[in-house]
Amino acid sequence: MFRFLVRRVIGALVILLIISAVTFSLYYALPRDPARMACGKVCTPELLAQVRHNLGIADPLPVQYWHWLQGVFVGRDYGGLGNCNAPCLGFSFTNREPVLGTIMDRLPLTISLALGASVFFLIIGVGTGMIAAVKQGRAADKIASSFSLLGSSLQIYFVGYIAMYFLVQQLGLLEQPSYTPFTENPAKWAAGLLLPWLVLSIIFTANYTRMTRSQLVEQLSEDYVRTARAKGMSRRSVFFRFAWRGAMGPIVTIFGIDMGTLIGGAIITESVFSLQGLGRLALTAVDANDLPMLLGVTMVAAGAIVFANIIVDAVYALIDPRIRLA
């Protein structure tokens, strides 16, 4: 297991390196002059040259990338603009601050959104899927299947606004979405995020219901489930100890991907609910042509997805002993 983790982490770093190189060359190759933006309204040609030098964008692209990479490990000095300690993901031209600081400010909200919603959609989705699998072909199964089809065809920018209009503005059942750090006030933290959680889980639950149902139905028809029954095991213990064990793997896989996506790309969700998370940060960075910020957010998002996958693989190996980790 240890060797597996070391190898996967090294592999993940290589992937992140490639992503950074591709993103870097894409964005920095665009015909825009970050120095002009950083220079401000009153900008003389001398000042512009100075800023350009400070930002390090007078150099050819590979040298620039090398400097960026160096910054990640040893930090970087942006001359008169400021200092950026390692790990330095870049320096925002618009905020005039190191990129990572801003990202770390926004990350807790995005993580709260993802984790909170996942608790809801895992419990509801997997629970409904289990019931549907047990009551296979009967009324409960058909109702669950219809609802999950409905849920999976809904979109957040539709459900989100409708829910906000009715539940918050008309009925006043829920609070207007807002973010209070958990460490500050857990109750307010939960109350402010409840609506986004519920809306996200409506969308995601469907997927888990269908997945859990089909996996369990398949597992329940496996020969080893029949063997367990032939040994005298009850339906209940066969269901949880054998069928559910086998059904878990694919569900964990999808969950890992969803978590990565939720952390890396909550742009629409955060926009709908006016929450200032990582997604909104990426959006404003695009609007402001803040290329270092965009690169920084991309790297954090990519990191979330890559490491979620490592965790998924490790968990999968714990579930299924046939997968050898070496």
């Binding site: 080893y224 029949r226 063997t227 040994k231 046939r322």
Partner: protein, 344 residues
């Protein structure tokens, strides 16, 4: 099979197992009766879909209760199983009656160690502790001939070879010393040497514990090796039964004759071509009328009045020996002799 009035250890009486499917009712087993005594082995022979596996899943009560209609009686040691409650069956399964399945890799859980799967059955029925169950699992693995059982007990099924997996499965089935063992083609997926070892193992264990064994197979060679009595199934019905010697040496039913002549024989001349039974197994959704074998039977036209396609031949049993055919025994003997003569 006994003809005494005393109740046999396992007694199946006029068993009917019908499934309802979207296309109609499948008559998987349609009126089957047999008896089995302790310490004896009954071989059930038949093609795929002849109802042999369904019969045995029904004995254990492992059929899909929502889709299956059961009629008839299954008495195990005097206890009626078809009407028994699920909780009662759970106490019998793995304890008094156990089953060995064909594909040991698919039939063992890939997520649990061999030792755990064997021990689990033991704990369930005896209430033993974890360490006792583990000790018992090691003892069982040793008994079925797994080398270094105290090491292998912690292996997963995928770490075992095919023959070892089947041994582990037998160990699992026998862990509570069941009185009835149902073996559903346990050697079909194994190569011949391993097959022979497994059969020897079953025979040894039967001698030691006096287990009654129902051995399902389509391989008459296996039957010749292990069975005391034989029951030949076709299309959900029994077409012939008797002792192993009777059925294999002097078959009475055209289907049994067909099965025997589709098998190579070691002591016969090698240049005699095998003669397969023409046609394919009957559909159980729309079974042939009358005798279910008549569309494939060489002798059907010799019965006057097309009786074979209109009327079901009854199984006439005397002292455990019988067959279901409209031809008289003498007629059949004559036709079979002619058939054998033309082949040589």
């Amino acid at each position: 099979m006994t003809s005494t009035d005393q109740q046999a250890f396992l007694s199946v009486r006029d068993l009917k197992v019908h499934f309802s499917t979207e296309d109609g009712i499948v008559k998987a087993v349609d009126g089957l009766s047999f008896d089995l005594e302790k310490g004896k082995t009954l071989g059930i022979v038949g093609e795929s879909g002849s109802g042999k596996s369904v019969t045995n899943l029904t004995i254990l009560g492992l059929h899909d209760r929502h889709r299956t209609a059961i009629d008839g009686e299954i008495l195990l040691d005097g206890k009626e199983l078809t009407t028994a409650r699920e909780s009662e069956l759970e106490k019998l399964r793995g304890n008094k009656m156990a089953m060995i399945f064909q594909d040991a890799l698919a039939s063992l859980s890939p997520y649990h160690t061999i030792g755990k799967q064997i021990g689990e059955t033991y704990r369930k029925h005896t209430g033993a502790s974890k360490s006792e169950a583990r000790k018992r699992a090691i003892e069982m693995l040793r008994r079925v001939g797994i080398p270094q059982p105290d090491m292998r007990v912690d292996d997963y099924p995928h770490q075992f070879s095919g023959g070892m997996r089947q041994r582990a499965m037998i160990a699992m089935a026998l862990v509570c010393d069941p009185e009835l063992l149902i073996a559903d083609e346990p050697t079909t997926a194994l190569d011949v040497t391993v097959q022979a070892q497994i059969m020897d193992l079953l025979k040894d264990l039967q001698q030691e514990f006096g287990t009654a064994i129902v051995f399902i197979t389509h391989d008459l060679g296996v039957i010749a090796d292990i069975a005391d009595d034989v029951l030949v199934m076709y299309g959900g019905r029994c077409v012939e039964r008797g002792t192993k010697e009777e059925v294999l040496r002097t078959p009475q039913h055209p289907y049994t004759v067909g099965l025997l002549s589709s098998m190579p024989s070691l002591d016969g001349p090698v240049d005699v071509p095998l003669s397969p039974i023409p046609g394919s197994p009957p559909s159980l959704l729309n079974p042939p009328s009358g005798c279910r074998f008549h569309p494939r039977c060489t002798f059907a036209e010799k019965v006057p009045g097309g009786l074979c396609s209109t009327e079901r031949p009854l199984l006439k049993v005397e002292a455990g020996r019988g067959s279901a055919c409209h031809l008289t025994l003498d007629q059949r003997q004559e036709f079979f002799a002619d058939l054998a003569a033309t082949r040589h």
